[in-house]
């Protein structure tokens, strides 16, 4: 570490921040090093990065942006893959590759927002349930059980239909299905953490609830849920595409992958028009796989029980 530091500049503040959280920072660096060594994780990361890039910059990359957005080109209907159309064209003559690129944006929103919605709610409830065990805690866990006991299709359908279907309806519907899992995970972790000596000491010392929760319990209890969340991005995309396939998603001509697959499935034989089936389903699979691979590798690295063996 050189001594060349700009007074009050960003590098200095960054270094100060790192020093305050040295253990966590080292942890992160170690994790990144191990991650780089895992071929599956690398594969997954590459795809994730590609996916996010395409999702954000589809108009730049897509060969036929207007068609990607939904403009039909009826003269070119159902062309097999070729140089002009690497993925072929769909039943309205639109270039499939462009459509898929524009669809990536929708899928990214679905994956991220579902987790961004479900995670805070689930974690908050889990922490509360674990900390205030009697009363509120019991109540929260019963409600969690209730939501877990729901048939997910019915829940998704009812919510999506009530909200008028579309991308945001699916996001909310899935978030409502996902949050109980975080609550459960966090609840179990909180129960474990609160019996640790230093937490008991903090409580005995009379620290206010909020302080105990935020500084001691939350950082330790949140890890399994975070790992789960990273994998749930993929799960959200998967389930979201299934819900769109069922018709709960955005209206056509939105280039949502699930909607596109359903269209293709109903329109014609996926044997004759094989490029529709293969090239619409493949990106869903690859993206979900990628998120899951990365999440799984992260879990592998962060989980203390798994790590022990590696050191041997």
């Amino acid at each position: 570490m050189t001594a060349e530091v700009v007074e009050l500049g960003i590098p200095a503040r960054w270094k100060a921040f790192v020093n305050r959280h040295r253990p966590a920072y080292n942890e992160a660096r170690r994790a990144w090093r191990l991650l780089r060594k895992d071929p599956l994780a690398v594969f997954g990361l590459v795809i994730v990065v590609a996916f996010v890039t395409v999702a954000l910059l589809a108009p730049v990359f897509a060969p036929y942006p207007a068609e990607g957005r939904g403009q039909s080109n009826l003269a070119n209907r159902l062309l097999p893959p070729s140089l002009e159309h690497p993925f072929g064209t769909d039943d309205f003559g639109r270039d499939l590759l462009s459509r898929i690129m524009f669809g990536a944006n929708i899928e990214l929103q679905v994956g991220l927002f579902t987790v961004f919605l479900a995670f805070p709610i689930g974690v908050l409830l889990g922490v509360l349930a674990g900390y205030f065990r009697r009363g509120i805690g019991e109540g929260i866990m019963r409600v969690t059980d209730m939501f877990l006991a729901f048939p997910p299709i019915l829940l998704a359908f009812v919510i999506a239909a009530a909200l008028g279907r579309g991308t945001y309806a699916i996001i909310v519907a899935m978030a409502v299905s996902f949050w109980p899992w975080y609550t459960r995970l966090v609840h179990a972790e909180v129960l474990r953490v609160r019996s640790l000596p230093y937490v008991e000491a903090a409580v005995a010392a009379g620290l206010p609830h909020r302080r105990v929760l935020l500084k001691h319990i939350l950082p330790n209890a949140i890890t399994p849920a975070t790992i789960q969340a990273s994998m749930d991005i993929g799960a959200a995309i998967l389930i979201g595409s299934a819900l769109s396939w069922l018709g709960l998603g955005p209206s056509p001509p939105a280039p949502d992958w699930g909607v596109m697959f359903n269209n293709a499935y109903l329109s014609g034989s996926l044997i004759t028009y094989w490029w529709l089936g293969v090239f619409i389903g493949m990106p869903i699979f690859l993206v979900v796989l990628a998120f899951n691979l990365v999440g799984d590798s992260v879990r592998e690295i962060l989980d203390p029980k798994l790590r022990r063996r590696r050191i041997l």
């Binding site: 039943d91 001509p253 014609g268």
Partner: protein, 550 residues
Amino acid sequence: MSGSTAPGPEAPPPPRKRPWMWIVIAIVVVVVLAGAGAYLVLFQPAPAKVPTVVTYATSSEMVTLDPSTEFSNSILILPNVYEGLTRFNPQTQSADPLLATSWTKTPDGMNWTFTLRQGVTFHDGTPFNATAVKFSVDRTIRMGGGAAFIWGAVDHIEILGEYQVKFVLTYPAPIDWIATSGYAAWIFSPRTPGWDTPGNDTVKDQEMAKWFEQGHESGTGPYMLDASQYSTTRVVFERFDAYWGGWREGQFDKAVILRNADPAQREASLKAGEVDITIDVPVLDLPQLRNDTSVRVLTTPSYRAIYAFFNTGRRPTDDPLVRQALAYAIPYDDIVTAVVGGLGDQSRGIIPKGMWGHNESLPQYEFNLTKAEDLLRQAGHPNPNFSLRFTYTLGDLFEQKFGELWKEKLATLGITMDVVGLPWEQQWTEAQGGPDTAQDIFVMYWWPSYVTPYDFLFNMFHSASYAYFNLGYYRNPTFDATIDEAVSLEATDRDMAFQMYSQAQMMLYNDLPGLGIVDLQNLYLLKADLRGFQDNAGYPLVVFFYQLSR
């Protein structure tokens, strides 16, 4: 979870390895299973005679079976097990004799006398005669459910002789055509179980209804229902050997109707040989299917069409100029080729092509964006930036694609259209709520209960159907009067009736509360070795198994 301590300083002795023991056990198990399997297969009693079966895969469930009240998809079943007095002939556009051999009417159209066929028996052995006819129609009218309104003109029925029955009406109506209906016109046995329950007629009717719902029938038709195998998605028929029409070589002993809601699956089942005939396969597969010699593609005219309604009770669609502009923005040719795969024609008027009442000289709207722009300007929308809500039935590909194409064209005019797919119940409830809260454009199919233009015009545009199926919210007393009169003339002066129906359609063309988009054709896919199939547009998508042979 596991965290156990060490087993102690002394390790337990390792077990002796006896892999050969496991191998012996495995061999014995395999031999025993193989022997048992072989025994069962070899000694399985072979059936005495393999029945010939024909299978029809359809898209909708068949729920109700009561011949008096059925008004839904069980029309696929009933024409095979029941018969009416007459049957509709789409080629000659007239009523053919079926259970009635001939009939006469008084010139005022108020009295109809039918001479009945002799030598016909019901499946339960009861002989068919005038009593059975009166019994059936009386019960249907009495229960008043389903399509019983088709008998609205009937005052009472008189039995003139064992094979002669007279319908006495309160106003003129074409009873011979009405009796061809696929709903509410079936004749069933007076000895149907349930009729003998003590109590008044209502109780008896209900008991009979319960008996029917369990999968039974009491008709005269060529096939009988196998009640023990009935379910809403699978219906099994057996040949009625004593059918009055007789049986030829090659006709089928059994028939099955299966339901599979997925068009791609129906096609796959047929090509795999599991099904003999099916409907509505994906239109994009037609080119290869036509080249496939193991199957036969049949497209026939139907009396089904897609209609779009404008919300005439709310801005901006309350302005006829706006509605006409929107109609000029529909790419009709693209819809016929790209959406429906060429299996249809642009609608002309409201009555579908091929049905009596359809008038080829009626005008049509065409796709003309310039005209649309002009009309919008005239209406005071030189820069239209309003948005419209278009709803269709979720899962219906034709309606969905129609919406997509229309949306695209409207976008070039600056109009945003939101194409929303909803389950039918939800879509219809929204529309029934009235013009203030309903969608801007409502799309649905229509097909007639029995062959008359009145069915279309009354249900979709008469003020009595306001906010029910009249979802353009159209209220025009002149229109109402015109079609009301036309229907009363159907029995006596058909030419006049036809003219009046055409006048009514012209009113609709000008006022445009809604319009027909595409007259659809039926699409059947059959195995190439199936013979005898003839589509009858009067009975939508019905397969008459009696016609078929291999």
